[in-house]
Symmetry: C2
């Protein structure tokens, strides 16, 4: 007798053989997957009928700022510096802990509804993000975003907050919350700050979540300040390593790609945000060819403006092709890998999540295939990447707990969260003195 | 007393002032919009409550091959020549009239569900496409796709079929079906064929739907054959004109953009297909800056693999920005214009559709905004372009007739169409001797 049996769907395992089982079932006991296959004899307390559905690992959003869901659509189509200084920063300055909580609830709701089960976050008031993650039932790898801009006093304060967060929250929510250190970027953090973080991450056995080489301006700044490009600079100070989650990585030379590879850095591609901010198209096919397991992220909802990883998978596949002007580049499976097993690898969780395999944690989703845009069925992976939307997700399970079934979220009151988010946004705008 | 009153939504009119009315209503009598505004006193036979929803013009898909919905996901990630010769053409050769009918029903269902009310199509067995359009209640501008490859006999036959289709179907389905001539492309049709089409289009008072400058290979071929690039060549033979709907237009010189502008050609941007086929990124910001009202299309579902115009709007906005590495390029409103009023202009229907204005045909949709990914509300146009999916569409009205209400399609039996499409695809695959 197991707890849950998900039965009779097209099972996209993402196991090392990338096995797809036409009529597959998954048995879950406690927080683990205990059986996977065509015929599972197990009886279960709860049976989920997955006929006409795909079963796949929960999607992993490798880089976001969850609470920014509250700022979705507040300002778009502006030059980056103006967007930040006139719109985003004034709002963020006014964001109280509760605003971050509500924004994170809203973002959690959107992630559950669109099939994301785990995400890597970098923001502030992270205790509030953790609170929302705990309530929503998601898995999160959270980091406090530090910026010192060369101010030593600020650095100490930032490190204090970041360390305190790691100490207090690592392993919380029955292990669903993990932590990292989150120095913002090589151009906003001092060398001393980065080296201190490197040391602390080692001491606490956690990763480091950082933005790297996002824009040409950043490259220019780093070259001006250090005589080196961002990845070169990080390599020269001994910062790079397998524990480094490097968001964006848009502007890389071949030499820098080689540095990322040899140091086993984990790049996270954020295609929609990179386009929307006018940053550029990251060399993802080049990194994948080099053997780097690039992960995939949405970035924050203010610069996307969506947390839907299905959209991101399609965009990643399409951009890889156009970058090379070659339709064979970045086949659908590569995009699905980025959003599942590569995401798990990037977060140091490849033994725990990212595929539907016996012994792994039960983080999985089903996608309803009985939709006009998913008909007829030739190749389920093609449909998941090129044709599906987050809205096609039917059921979401994290750590063996059902967060959504038949499109109905069980851990959050959807209507209440939407009302609360709108009210909180109205209040925030009036406090910031902004106009909607 | 009017027939329908759509009441109390955020009304995005797309009128010449791009007016957005926070609490707007639309009165419909017969097939026309008879009142638009904040307070409409009209009583109506049928009231549609649009509170919490956006009301906007139905989206216009400027270039597709509707019946190819049946081939969605049949083959992906292949070099274009191999994809065509080994996969798509063998299947198309086996496609009987009924297959095109079923594919078009499937595509119609997907378009209704994702808020597209009008589309421009280019394919074969076009009487069957017309039949599906009539049944679904959509508006379509249909053309038979001609290819002669310099064979005079073939040319005569193709022209005969194309002309017969225009003669028989122009204005059918209470005017919802319009026609064009559909010479495939400058590299697959002889000069004689193109000139004959030009003459016939003039005689019948209809447009011409053609693929232009889609890939670098096409440019190379045209230069080899005619010593000119595609648009230069079409200009030199006197083919260009305001009635020409030119799909793709990816590879253009400044001089060619100027030719398109002075001849008032109507380019249709197909961003997802252009990326997926590895064709390139079209110079849309450049064309728009030149004052060309570029429209937007999905292309066929085999090369996208979706007919969702919301996805296409987002992609068009994002690609415009990255092309210029400038986030101010292609603001959200520009993308929405491409999918509405520019589409209407491209199809010669700017007086009839493309905006919610008194006197225009009642082609409009509502989008449910009570979704986590559309919360909070700052700017409805931002949400429609950057955050919404086709799945958020609630109600669809074409020519004053309700095709979908509350997500339920009224003109087609959704379940039956899905079953029929799968059966038809299974049968087609077995006839084509292919493996799924």
């Amino acid at each position: 007798m197991v707890d849950i049996l998900v039965r009779g769907g097209i099972l996209v395992t993402m196991d090392p053989n990338r096995r797809v089982i036409k009529q597959g079932s998954v048995a879950i006991d406690g927080d683990r997957i205990v059986a996977v296959g065509e015929e599972i004899g197990e009886k279960a307390d709860k049976v989920i009928d997955a006929r006409g559905k795909a079963i796949l690992p929960g999607l992993i959003n490798g880089h976001t700022h969850l609470a920014m869901a509250l700022l979705r659509g507040y300002a778009d189509d502006m030059p980056l510096d103006k967007w930040l200084s006139e719109k985003i920063w004034p709002m963020e300055k006014m964001m109280r802990p509760r605003d971050c909580y509500v924004g994170s609830l809203l973002g959690s709701l959107e992630m559950i509804k669109s099939g994301t089960t785990c995400f890597a976050d970098n923001y502030f008031h992270m205790d509030q993000v953790a609170r929302a993650v705990k309530k929503a039932g998601l898995r999160g790898v959270l980091s406090y975003g530090m910026i010192d801009r060369g101010n030593r006093q600020k650095m100490k304060e930032e490190i204090r907050i970041g360390r305190s967060f790691v100490k207090s929250f690592q392993g919380k929510a029955q292990g669903r919350i993990l932590t990292m250190f989150g120095p913002h970027a090589p151009y906003t953090c001092s060398t001393e700050c980065l080296l201190k973080v490197k040391e602390l991450a080692k001491r606490f056995g956690v990763g480091i979540h950082i933005h790297v080489a996002e824009s040409r301006e950043e490259v220019k700044l780093t070259v001006e300040n250090y005589g080196k490009r961002p990845v070169e600079y990080l390599d020269s100070i001994g910062f790079l390593g397998p524990e480094v989650l490097a968001a964006h990585c848009v502007w890389l030379t071949e030499k820098e790609i080689e540095m990322l590879r040899t140091k086993e850095v984990k790049p996270v591609h954020n295609p929609a945000s990179n386009l929307k901010m006018g940053s550029g198209i990251a060399p993802v096919p080049e990194m994948l060819s080099a053997g780097i397991p690039v992960a995939l992220g949405t970035d924050g909802a203010a610069s996307n403006n969506s947390l839907d990883m299905f959209k991101e998978m399609k965009l990643a596949a399409l951009l890889g092709k156009v970058r090379k002007l070659d339709p064979t580049t970045m086949p659908a499976m590569k995009a699905l890998e980025m959003a599942t097993i590569n995401g798990a690898t990037a977060l140091g969780l490849s033994n725990e999540i990212g595929s539907v395999e016996v012994g792994k944690r039960a983080d999985l989703i089903t996608v309803d295939l009985k939709r006009s845009h998913l008909t007829p069925m030739y190749d389920v992976v093609s449909h998941l990447v090129y044709s599906a939307n987050g809205g096609d997700v039917d059921t979401v399970i994290v750590d063996g707990k059902i967060l959504m079934e038949g499109g109905k979220v069980l851990t959050l009151d959807e209507e209440k969260v939407l009302e609360l988010a709108q009210r909180t946004s109205d209040d925030l705008v009036s406090r910031a003195g902004g106009n909607k």
